[in-house]
């Protein structure tokens, strides 16, 4: 992996991510998560296991996938949309290197903007760095990786990556994943929760997959999406005159 990572591509990608107002957008959801946690901690709602509902349901089904969607589709998709990607591709840099580097930058940004706030929110909710906080952190780290692989691939496959990504998150994961057990096998949210719950052991997280299933599927999905993204980027083409 280290040999495929390109520092120049990473630098340009980071500059692009923080140079646009989009950087404000992907800082917003985790701020909301921490604020909501602070409010609930202060309000101390009796009875309900609210850390699991907020940090698990809200954190893993809304904050994590949506932030990853914004980041994952922008690290490469924005350059494809405005055509500036041509300047990068008109060099001898391997397409696999472009994909892996942008995926790594996207995953790192998502970890910083989601996994770390999940840890902070978990510590606030439980009053310390216990199993729940740490489990949520590790689960969010895994989710950052897998979601970014998926959304980077989408941004190469289609110009409507955000729309397709939203359909996946809101329909496939949020709706079907809760009612159809087979759908969980293709749910990145469930992989993340399965990994989180293996550490947290918190029933309110509603994790539907075991650790081994979550890990295996997570690795398969990450690898397959990156391979597909590389193949498609290798076939990137510019249309001609009036076509």
């Amino acid at each position: 992996m280290v040999g495929v990572f390109n520092g120049v591509v990473a630098s340009i990608t980071l500059r692009a991510a923080f140079g646009r107002r989009r950087a404000l957008i992907f800082a917003l959801p985790p701020l909301i998560l921490i604020l909501v946690t602070l409010v609930l901690k202060a309000a101390r709602p009796p009875g309900t296991p609210w850390p699991g509902r907020i940090l698990g349901d809200f954190g893993f089904s809304v904050i994590l996938p949506l932030t990853a969607l914004i980041i994952g589709t922008s690290v490469l998709g924005a350059e494809i949309d405005d055509g500036s990607i041509v300047h990068l591709l008109a060099t001898p840099v391997r397409r696999s290197s472009v994909i892996v580097t942008k995926f790594c930058v996207g995953a790192a940004l998502t970890m910083a903007f989601v996994a770390v706030p999940e840890l902070i929110a978990g510590m606030i909710a439980t009053g310390g760095a216990g199993r729940l906080a740490f489990g949520l952190f590790v689960g969010a780290l895994a989710g950052s990786v897998i979601y970014n692989a998926l959304f980077v691939m989408l941004s190469v496959l289609t110009t409507r990556a955000i729309a397709v990504g939203l359909l996946y998150v809101l329909i496939w994961e949020a709706v079907l994943g809760n009612f159809v057990s087979g759908a969980r096998l293709l749910s990145v949210e469930q992989y993340s929760l399965g990994i989180a719950n293996s550490i947290a052991r918190y029933s309110a997280l509603n994790a539907g997959l075991s650790l081994s299933t979550a890990l295996i599927m997570g690795v398969i999905v990450t690898a397959a999406t990156l391979v597909l993204a590389t193949r498609r980027l290798s076939e990137f083409s510019l249309k001609g005159d009036a076509v």
């Binding site: 591509v9 340009i12 055509g83 060099t91 001609g240």
Partner: protein
């Protein structure tokens, strides 16, 4: 010295044929790729640049296929038409990043040299978002030249440039072509191509309509009479004498002189001096009126 070879190259999108069975060789020097809007110029340039696969036929740069071969960019520099460039970078950062992506031994020196070639040293530390269109074009050219490529592909390079910048670009490309590089530029600004390109490739409706030196192409177009403007000491007498020649299809007295339409270029060239001498008419000036690239191009597009 690198040659670009196309053999029976076609490219279609469903029922739309954008490029139709083109065979051509582009060698060292400057070649102009001309055609009306929608003719297939950009499609052809993208095929050559490796950003589009041919639907049929073969396309090589040197001995290597262009499609799905990032290694060709070690010898190819591309200046795309689209204005999009990493606007958040300064000009120097953009060119230096390109130099590093090419894994050049000394990216800093290569960047300085490339920026100097396009005369952008004064603006290199400004963000590209603050550049005019002409400045963006020049910084794109710098990035395309930073690795000293043998082949340079430019899609509408004069877009957005003022006359001074155009002259500078013409001088630059002329110099690069004289160094033995293979330069292909697509343009609809005929005056610039006329001054710059030794060879033209004219694309009309996806087909190669003509190829070669545009003056030679004009002479080969025997179905079209050549038009000359002749200024003499007695235009009327010369006109009445020339109309009797089988090589002349028409004469017209104009304010600027005698306009002669000659169907046989060679015979007319030989007869004109003899006819003038026999009638004691002094020839002051003889100008071809349709040997410009624009007229050649117009003929080819109409036919």
């Amino acid at each position: 010295m690198t040659t670009i070879e196309l053999r029976n190259v076609s490219r279609w999108y469903g029922n739309v044929v954008a490029v139709n069975d083109i065979t051509m060789t582009i060698g060292p020097g400057v070649t102009g790729l001309l055609g009306p809007n929608g003719a297939g110029k950009s499609t052809l340039l993208h095929l050559i640049a490796g950003f589009l696969p041919p639907s049929r036929g073969t396309l090589t740069i040197g001995t290597a296929a262009a499609w799905r071969n990032p290694e060709i960019y070690r010898t190819v520099g591309l200046v795309p038409e689209r204005d999009s460039v990493y606007a958040f970078l300064t000009g120097a950062e953009f060119v230096r990043a390109t130099a590093r992506l090419h894994q050049l031994a000394d990216p800093q020196a290569a960047t300085r040299r490339a920026i100097a070639i396009v005369d952008m040293a004064d603006a290199q530390e400004r963000k590209i978002s603050t550049y005019s269109k002409g400045m963006r074009q020049r910084i794109k050219v710098a990035a395309a030249l930073v690795h000293d490529p043998e082949v340079l592909l430019l899609d509408e390079p004069f877009n957005g440039m003022d006359p001074r910048q155009r002259l500078h670009m013409i001088d630059l490309l002329t110099k690069l072509g004289a160094e033995g590089r293979t330069i292909l530029l697509s343009s609809h600004i005929l005056e610039e191509v006329e001054r710059l390109a030794g060879t033209i490739q004219v694309i009309v409706s996806g087909r190669l309509a003509a190829s070669g030196d545009f003056r030679a192409i004009r002479r080969l177009m025997t179905s079209r009479p050549h038009v000359f403007l002749v200024r003499t000491s007695d235009d009327r007498m010369l006109g009445s004498a020339l109309i009797g020649s089988p090589a002349v299809t028409g004469v017209e007295l104009t304010r600027g002189g005698l306009q002669v339409r000659a169907s046989d270029y060679g015979r007319f060239s030989r007869e004109l001096a003899a006819v003038a001498r026999d009638r004691d008419i002094r020839l002051r000036e003889l100008l071809p009126e349709d040997e410009s690239l624009e007229s050649v191009f117009a003929y080819l597009v109409e036919s």
